[in-house]
């Protein structure tokens, strides 16, 4: 790892640059807020020279719902539900972060059964999120069919979630002290006997259809290059940073729940291009499968939720909890005055930092490269805007 002073004095690191927002003769194009490649309401103002990109200027705020402000008027049980709407593809993991923070502040001992269930849910969510990313990224590249293949597997997973949580997208399943209720009685069977074998039998299709495709490889190899130093400077995390060789998996660095009991590898690539980001996510799916396989048949008996008070009051102070979502590091920072609601809350969302490097990695490339880079950054816009 680099030391911070070494990084700042190195020639490789980013230097502050000041450029005019727009010059009068620039040829600008608005990608978004309604555009097929942005998967939401992201607005990019791109400056072009012919087909070559001179500058990308993300313009945020179209889906800002002031979640942080809303959380300040919600109790420590209620604010979890709002966070499902941030990164809606990893809603379990968002909820997990909030629940962990409250448990850390109140020093609640979470039953082991709940910890197992939470980690399984997290990894299922990660698989679902990566599957959706895979389909959507292939669609950005112009291949429509992978989207349907990804959704075929994801649909089974969503049904499993629906059985247990009653929801397909905004789960709201994790609560301070454990999970809301026991998983559905068919949960273990469906995950271990239906979903995992299905996914493992279909993974080779993904490799044949997209990974091995020569057109796809030409589109992503060497495109959107993010170096090790830049990944750190921009605060990238998750698969985006790991593709540049940064060792940043929160599950390994600061393990929570039963992550320190399971064997898994932190997937790291060193190339830093779109292909590396792609490979990291594809291999993470396999790692998640392995984690679930280690846990799913060993869920201990016991309570699914620790006994907590009806009204939660966090002690006065500042609390921070980080987890690894499908997109990177999600940090929850709470300032408590000792009351039933947070005084101030701040989410450090992975998408925001990952988006910030977009201008840097696409400068001088073609519009097609912008779409490829944006696809492999795996942006979820409500996560960026909150």
């Amino acid at each position: 790892m680099y030391h911070i002073n070494e990084l700042l004095n190195s020639d490789n690191t980013l230097k502050p640059s000041f450029v005019a927002m727009k010059e009068s003769d620039d040829y600008t194009i608005n990608i978004g807020p309604q555009h097929p490649a942005t998967h939401g309401v992201l607005h990019l103002v791109i400056t072009l020279n012919g087909e070559t990109i001179k500058k990308v200027d993300p313009d945020l705020g179209f889906i800002h719902r002031s979640i942080e402000k809303m959380c300040e008027s919600l109790s420590y049980r209620q604010y979890i539900y709002v966070t499902s709407r941030m990164d809606y593809l990893s809603s379990h993991i968002n909820n997990h972060a909030c629940a962990l923070l409250v448990e850390k502040a109140l020093q609640v001992e979470v039953p082991e059964r709940a910890q197992y269930i939470r980690v399984i849910m997290d990894e299922l969510t990660r698989i679902a999120s990566h599957l959706l990313w895979w389909g959507a990224m292939a669609m950005d590249m112009g291949a429509f069919t992978p989207y349907f293949y990804a959704f075929r597997e994801r649909e089974l997973l969503t049904e499993i979630m629906e059985d247990t949580c009653g929801a397909r997208l905004t789960m709201n399943y994790m609560v301070p002290g454990g999970v809301m209720h026991d998983p559905h009685e068919t949960f273990v069977h469906r995950v271990s006997k239906e979903f995992l074998p299905l996914l493992k039998s279909k993974l080779h299709e993904y490799e044949e259809l997209v990974t091995g495709n020569i057109i796809f490889q030409n589109r992503v190899n060497g495109v959107g290059l993010l170096t090790y130093e830049d990944a750190i400077s921009y605060g990238c995390s998750g698969p985006t940073a790991r593709a540049s060789g940064v060792h940043c998996d929160i599950r390994k660095l600061y393990p929570y729940d039963v992550y320190n009991k399971v064997q898994f590898e932190e997937v790291i690539e060193t190339a830093g291009d779109s292909m590396a980001r792609y490979m990291v996510r594809m291999n993470e799916i396999k790692q998640s499968i392995s984690i679930i396989e280690q846990l799913i048949n060993n869920i201990p008996e016991g309570d699914f939720q620790a006994k907590t008070k009806a009204v939660l009051k966090l002690p006065k102070g500042e609390f921070y909890q980080r987890v690894e979502t499908a997109r990177g590091e999600l940090g929850v920072f709470v300032v408590s005055e000792g009351g039933t609601t947070p005084y101030r809350i701040k989410f450090r969302s992975p998408g925001f930092s990952n988006l910030s490097c977009l201008d840097h990695i696409t400068k001088g490339s073609k519009i097609g490269d912008l779409v490829a880079s944006m696809g492999t950054l795996d942006l979820v816009i409500p996560d960026i805007d909150r």
């Binding site: 087909e51 112009g142 069919t145 057109i215 589109r219 519009i367 097609g368």
Partner: protein, 358 residues
Amino acid sequence: MISFEHITKWLQAWLNAHMSPILVLAVETVLIVILAIALFAVLGLVLVIMERRVAAFMQIRMGPNRVGPWGLLQSTADTVKLIMKESIVPTHADKFLFNLAPFIVMIAAMLILAPVNFAQRFHIWDLNIGILFITSISSISVIGILMGGWASSNKYSLLGAMRSGAQIVSYELSAGLSILTIIVLCGSLKVSDIIASQETGWWIFKGHIPAIVAFVIYLIAVTAETNRAPFDLAEAESELTAGFHSEYSGMRFALFFLAEYINIFIVCAVGATLFLGGWMPFHIGHLQGFNHVMDYIPSSIWFFGKTFFLIFVIMWFRWTFPRLRIDQLLNLEWKYLLPISMVNLLVMTVVAIYHLHF
């Protein structure tokens, strides 16, 4: 055997018996125009529904299945909707060019139908430079695309038109060269002569490896020429929303849409004519018995069967491959396809001079 030839001959005789020669010509012209427009519309509808069913088949889903039997009327319903929709002209658009563009694309597509032989001796105009006519008229459609993209006064449209111009002009070279390799073999530009020369077997089987190479290059080049995925950069929806026809709506959009499908039909018909023998049944050399059995299948079925097979292949491309980037697209043409097809043409010339083909 029922053949289109009998119908046309009977009609010609009947008209000649009842009218003066000039009137006969006028009536026949009107009939052909009506038939061509009807074919244009029907082909468009059939190809759209076919594309949607093929896409659904590839993507493990149902596809249109509600309107009419097996969803066959879906594209008709869509067309009715498009006719009823308001056709908006943007405020800053060049109105004359904006309105003209879809018609240029459509007229170019319709003109190319003329020399195509749909069945044995069933064609509109079998002129002696038929293939040259097809290649030259098909170049016109790029003008319509450029015009539409420029006149829309939309940056997406302009970029799409710019890409489309570069792409179609480049890929016409290798498409033309691969057509030339077959012309070298049969020594005639007349479509009926080309088909007649394949009486002992189709050129893709008779022409050795150069014919197969030319066929593959032709398929790639025409996929690019018709702006189909993986070469659909002109309307790359994840980059340029809809490319050159972003601003078109209603029937003007439908004309672009129809012209795209008619163009696919035409390039596949030309490909089938050149490489797969057009309406010529599957013949093996001089095996009289086998050839005679094959002749019992009507020539129109042979022609449409081959053409729709090629259309299916092109649709298959679209639903399998990701899209190329613009520089990769031009590299592919200028660095690979063009040199290969030039060498291929030379080899084919040697083959033709020494009669090395079957």
